[in-house]
Point group: C2
Chain length 399, copies 2
């Protein structure tokens, strides 16, 4: 038997385990100091009561023969797909429930979508970006080219029509930079994808954090996207579902590439390798899209966004360059005095007790930057902000 | 962009939609006749109370900051992996929690395991068998060879050492035939896999239905399996989880093939393309393995097995050859008078109102057979049995 040798080419991603190990060392060395964790890309607010009650009611349904549910539709239950379609409709977007596929989360979909494409395809990735796009592309044996984000392009790299791409990943709002493409920029990306006959995989997992009404939440706000793009979304950050697990992908029936309907291919893939998302979870997810559900989850989003503002204000006061945090839960900051990402990480940790995520962990173009997450408690954020305001790195510089 | 052309080679599997369409036609033509559905491979008994209460308690945990859970381990929570290890230990098997990977179900694992192997591998499949093995192998671009089950080999085909295989799928107890390999037979399979340097994917999804104490529940009861086999299992049929979704796969760290640790590869695959199984579901799953949990789910298993016995007895009385149903929830029967699978299906449906699943849908060697499922209610099974006892196909024969 021959193993998938491409999967062996993947280097182990030690980013989060390396952070964890340095935090452990800090706590061992300074047992009395408070560790302010602004490094976690995971929600911390509990689930809203209305969702918990919905989940319990769905659990109770399973106890009675009349309401018990066995295998559901592999594509997801119609009640949830209709609720998601309504969510799009509220922004004037027409997304058909038949084009929506429910899953256990965006990471699964992003990985599993690789099944639809040949190994011999060139993947175009922004840099820095969520590492899953790169890792899954390498595991599939694909060639990867990068497009660099920088302060100059506001970490929103634009397509170069002279560079060929077959599969394009975009993440907007971006993890880790918090940068968000505007409508004109996305229109250029769609034009590029159409010209290249490429597929654009649009990761909208943070769209619910967008505050600026002019910014697009969905690639399907752009004309022509229905012929070149599919969209992945998730309830993880929108509704605190990181431990609950539910996401969805929109694959329009109009999406025909290389002579094949990607909708039919994805339908067949899901019917063959997936048995549907837990009924209990789907019921809870559907509640998120009701008026009461949206009100509850928007309170948590507002809480996290206030955290982001507190962090941004403090960084501003300290004269540290930062972006993101206005329409995304992530704040992306430049290490002062040309420190590299890990040097800055160590300095912040050892001198101030603040943990961030080194930008270099998200790609070469992230070197010299750090990501703060706003998913911590208000108390943690306020304490961190107080320290950040008076950040003093004079005399510190890169080796 | 080039699509995965292998996935396009897959024919649509119309088995279950074709059955559904013929059942609809029956109900339209005979609105007053009772339809006795013995065709469903899905549980029908509600979840035991103890599991529903566990699920509600886990939901309540999510409502409080102290007990809220975000992202869990991609491999599964330790409390559940330990509970599963204990389940093996009760049969004297030493399976380490580190070798257990929790998922949302066996179908996902069976599909996703394809990621670990090169396209250039020969897959060996028993025939008839659960169609997912074939479909996922074709989608991965692999060559498939079959090993025929028949009445002569009791639908338990044995390896031919002169035939090369890289990837071997076994399902025991078998879906659809209900046949179960004994210890000596599995030992021969393990010897064959070791000799071929092949990987043996052992699907044990129905092991909890085994009644005969001498029959193996796990491939790891066989010496040497830890060097050539991994095992997929599920709570779907064991605990009524078809709509709840939870399964697991054991990938021993001793499993090194083609110079690679399959354990490490699967760990990396799950960490990259999966974000863990829902916490609420994992808590409920762990309860299944407690003493009370096992007692509750064993009552449902006994109920279904009694259904199987009622069906078998009736078939016996009618002089219809059948197998399975003793250690599996499926009864596999031979169509009388050399009818083919679909002819027999139509006759049973139209003359008796009984629905089965045509054996031809599970592979060419299933032609001329039918599968009955014991997952219906006792009332349905008893009514069907009464009709089956007096089954009269004299004068009916294949065209």
């Amino acid at each position: 038997m021959k193993v998938n040798h491409y999967a062996l080419q993947l280097e182990n991603n030690y980013l989060f385990s390396e952070i964890a190990s340095r935090l452990r060392a800090f706590q061992k060395e300074y047992p009395d100091r408070t560790l302010l964790k602004c490094s976690i890309g995971d929600v911390t607010r509990p689930l809203p009561r209305i969702l918990v009650e919905t989940m319990k009611n769905a659990a109770e349904e399973m106890a009675h023969p009349e309401t018990f549910r066995g295998y559901g539709a592999e594509q997801g239950e119609l009640f949830l797909r209709e609720a998601i379609a309504q969510y799009y409709a509220k922004r004037g977007l027409s997304v058909h429930p038949e084009d929506i596929f429910v899953s256990d989360g965006a990471k699964s979909d992003l990985g599993n979508l690789c099944d639809l494409f040949d190994a011999d395809n060139t993947v175009l990735l922004p840099n820095p970006v969520y590492p899953v796009y790169y890792d899954t592309s390498i595991m599939s044996g694909r060639h990867v080219v990068f497009l660099e984000g920088s302060q100059k392009n506001e970490f929103l790299p634009m397509p170069d029509f002279s560079v060929h791409a077959d599969i394009i990943y975009l993440c907007s709002p971006n993890n880790p930079t918090g940068a968000v493409y505007n409508r004109e920029q996305l229109a250029e990306w769609v034009a590029y994808a159409l010209e290249q006959k490429a597929i654009l995989l649009f990761d909208a997992a943070y769209e619910s954090y967008i505050q600026d009404a002019s910014l697009p939440h969905s690639i399907f706000e752009i004309e022509g996207a229905e012929q070149c793009a599919l969209e992945i979304n998730s309830l993880s950050k929108m509704a605190g579902f990181t431990g609950v697990r539910c996401g969805w992908t929109v694959v329009p029936r109009t999406l025909v590439l290389d002579g094949a309907s990607l909708h039919q291919m994805w339908f067949r893939r899901m019917a063959t390798k997936y048995n549907g998302t837990s009924y209990i979870i789907q019921r809870t997810a559907a509640k998120v899209f009701t008026e009461e559900g949206q009100q509850a989850v928007r309170e948590d989003i507002a809480y996290y966004m206030e955290n982001a503002h507190i962090l941004k204000k403090a960084l501003n006061q300290a004269g540290i360059w930062s972006t993101g945090g206005d329409n995304a839960p992530y704040v992306w900051l430049k290490a002062p005095n040309n420190l590299d990402s890990w040097e800055f990480f160590d300095e912040l940790l050892n001198r101030y007790g603040i943990a961030g995520t080194p930008g270099a962990g998200f790609g070469t173009a992230g070197e010299g930057y750090l990501r703060f997450s706003s998913f911590a408690s208000r108390e943690t954020i306020q304490e961190a902000a107080k320290l950040l305001e008076n950040l003093d790195f004079s005399g510190k510089s890169s080796k």
